[in-house]
Amino acid sequence: MRRLLIATLLVSAAAIGYEILLMRVLSIVQWHHFAYMIISLALLGYGASGTFIAVLRNRLEPRFELAFAGSALFFSISMVVCFILAQRVPFNALEIVWDSGQFLNLAVLYLAFFVPFFFAACCIGLAFTCRGSECSRIYFFDLFGAGLGAILVIALLFAVSPQTALVLLAVLPLLGSILVASMLAVRLPLGAAQFAWLLLLAVGVPQAHLELRISEYKGLAQALEVVDSRILNERSSPLGLITVVDSPFVPVRHAPGLSFGTRHIPPPQLAVFTDADGMSAITRFDGQPESVAYLGDMTAALPFALLEESAVLVLGAGAGADVLMALYHDASRIDAVELNPQMSELVADTYADFAGHIYDDRRVTVVTGEARSFVARRGGAYDVIQIGLLDSFGASGAGVQALNESYIYTVEALIDYIDNLAPGGFLAITRWIKMPPRDSVKLIATAIESLRQSGVSEPGRRIAMIRSWNTSTLLVKRGDITPTEIDRIKAFSRSRSFDTAWLPGMRAEDANRYNRLPRPYIHEAAVALLDDNAGDFLDRYKFYVEPATDDRPYFFHFFRWRTLPEVMTLRKAGGAGLIEWGYLVLVATLLQAAALGLGLILVPLALAKQAWPAGAGRNFGFYFLLLGLAFLFVEMAFIQKFTLFLGNPLYSVAVVLSGFLLFAGLGSAASERLARRLPWPAVSPVTVAVAAIVLLALLYVAVLPVVFDKSIGLTDTARIVLSLALIAPLAFFMGMPFPLGMKRVVRLAPGFVPWAWGINGFASVVSAVLATLLAIEFGFSVVIVIATSLYAVAAWDEAAIRSG
């Protein structure tokens, strides 16, 4: 039994590791939102395994060890082979609006990645079905393995390339296969296959096959098409693949929002791509300010035109553009915060000569960390807090970031930033301008809401926004903007052909002079948002521009259903760029997962309905459906809640996800003991566990903001320990309902075990997608409240089964 449990752990670790790895790789070769869809659908392999086992149960059960070892071997092989095959599918996400053939390519991708998850889930499902009496231990090793797998793959991605990580992960299920095969009496053919596959992995899968084939429409691929361009440097970590490209024949000149009245041309730059897209640039600096004088002619330079001397905080330093801008404007002190240390290292070390050693300047301090966390913990009195363009126009334009949580642009974030300004200081946020305007309008709405929540009665006096043809810069001042400053903003804008979108006391006719929109949209929006009827404007605007909050951190979500028909009819009249893809992809994922999942559950149900007593299927099916939905709702919502507190998305995934899985595993292991020692025989242990879950989850919704606020200043280690301590009791009880229910199924309707497994797997897929959709619409707190209701209904259902 021990060998089987260890094999379960290995398979489970590899499955979650593979899932995280695929998300990473598909984000590099494709785009994040399609990666999300492809993997979500592939995870239906979990549900399908239940169907498969249920149908073939009578044949598989007598050959359990062989079936387990074979599935684990196939899992290992398909991890690599399907990865290679999928790379050869010519899927072009950008063309999907024009070419229906792309849907076929997408379906092939689903199928390719479905196979490995199917075999992985077969292993676990077989263990539950054939060794049901040990289900709480199996569930413990399953969850424990998943927790370890998440940590392992993140560690691997720091050390090796994604391709090498893939090969190393593929070894885990192979070891599991070998372990279980050793329990067989006759093992020659299987052993030979295991040995051959092990040999191939050890010798090395040819690198040419594993090489990542990046979409030719991503920025990196396009840059490499230019004559004489070449990759100078490539670094990979779980935070992203960073690629540095030099293009001597056609030099890179990245200067978003540069005035077309400028006399200054940017010097040659090195392009820096993150995940093969999202270009930023390291600018050559010879120490002579005039060589980078173009930096004074960008909208983002506005705050420096208003201050004589400035202590600057740059949030999201990236490749150093905003630091260089602050140095060019003689800032007295610059603190620069960057999440990805590999990015900072490029400027500070690898290309320090090229970049003019800007990070060695005594005025500059570079900190590795996340912006919100830095602001909340360090505090300070800055004259300028600068948030530049952190994303590319392409990504921003197509609305593909709608699914990405961002805590940078929320109401609470802006309150924090303003609190960290010195009196008279400016927060400056630069965004791309889209047509029709979205980001800029939402940003103004967010600033107004932040100021109002801080007790400012006339927020319009503290806000200014200027715009070029493709960027806007919002200023929020700590204090009222003075007449002198207004004059300076006007002069700065006029001399650079920028328009003022909002200034206290400005005239509407000044809003649309140099960069003419069909109407002065942003100015009109600012006027409407400052009016008492702002709510009416927000309701009527064709895109969703209500401020994002920490509970609904989707700044990039602009989608509105009622605008879709209009946009679709305009597709052929150049309206394709108006489609907000992220949200639509999410909805499409949910619909496909629900339809396919129902098919996987219901169709075979009709084929094998005699396998369990009448009524059991409906009751148990409902129970495991609810558990699958609720578990992931809670897990996903708390990952988000802790992301902000831990200050680093990697910590949050590693700590929260692993913590949840590990403690839930312990809960599973302890579930039988709870059932035995419960002093009230009339009360179901499931009811007790669910009561604890509901109480804890609702308590956390109420008190976590306060706990986080009080303890955000602790060290990284202390915050991780505190997070784990908070997660432990909740996850511990969440690990119980599944094995307790499974135990009952084993006793009352053993034929139903694989179904329970399949339904739970299907519900998990739907749950992950649905949780995101609900969070976008209602916020994470609502997701948690819904999850507690689902748990409560599950407990009620289980009580009904007991009494029935």
Partner: protein, 235 residues
């Protein structure tokens, strides 16, 4: 000699006969583009621009696998991560440049050469620069083969324009740009117009029209490729 020519003509005839006639499809495309023209602004496209769209053989500018879609109103891939623009967008960009038969036009980003061919039918001369060697070569050969003698192509960096042939009556920049290159504004004649499409491949989001006044003052207009007003619609 005459016999040889006749023989050659006979040999060539089956090949010519085999090639489908796309005239009707082109006419349908022009009709579709004409219908959509009003979406960008109040004015319909000029008849000259639409007539040109009906003449230039788009199917000769797309890869063999895409020929069947050549007269659909959609962008198509041409390899190297590049696309041939949606015909509607080509018409709109061309119309915005207000071409005259004596104009000298600079194009930055030759791509397949289709936009250059459309312009060449309407203006005096088109100078076009491409940064991807394979595209520069194939587009140059294609334009020559199709008899566009008033198009000059070269491989190079479009950022600095083409000084020898400056100033230009109009400039069209089809390559992605984070800003308008100052040298291009310098090479634009007073009263000249520049058009830059903005957005991801396959998804042009808006067109930037830059106008240089006779006094040298520059203003831009964002031509939302759609007429999307009022933004605050009724419930």
């Amino acid at each position: 000699m005459r016999a040889l020519i006749v023989l050659a003509a006979m040999l060539a005839a089956p090949a010519l006969a085999d090639e489908p006639d796309y005239t009707a499809q082109r006419a349908d495309l022009v009709d579709e583009v004409r219908v959509y023209a009003g979406y960008a602004g109040d004015d319909p496209f000029s008849d000259d621009v639409l007539a040109t769209l009906g003449r230039v053989e788009r199917h000769r500018f797309v890869p063999p696998g895409e020929v069947r879609y050549a007269y659909e109103n959609r962008p198509l891939p041409i390899g190297h991560g590049q696309t041939i623009s949606q015909p509607y967008i080509v018409a709109l960009m061309t119309d915005l440049l207000e071409p005259n038969e004596d104009d000298v036009v600079l194009e930055v980003g030759t791509g397949s050469g289709y936009q250059a061919a459309v312009l060449a039918e309407l203006v005096g001369h088109v100078y076009t620069i491409e940064i991807i060697e394979a595209l520069a070569t194939s587009a140059g050969e294609r334009l020559q083969r199709l008899g566009y003698d008033n198009v000059t192509t070269r491989l190079g960096d479009g950022y600095y324009g083409w000084q020898e042939h400056a100033p230009f009556d109009s400039i069209i920049v089809t390559a992605a740009a984070s800003h308008v290159p100052p040298p291009l504004i310098e090479q634009l004649k007073p009263g000249g117009r520049m058009v830059i499409p903005v957005g991801a491949r396959f998804m042009t989001q808006l067109l930037l029209l830059l106008e240089k006044g006779n006094d040298g003052e520059v203003v831009t207009r964002q031509i939302g490729a759609v007429r999307f007003v009022p933004l605050t619609g009724e419930h």
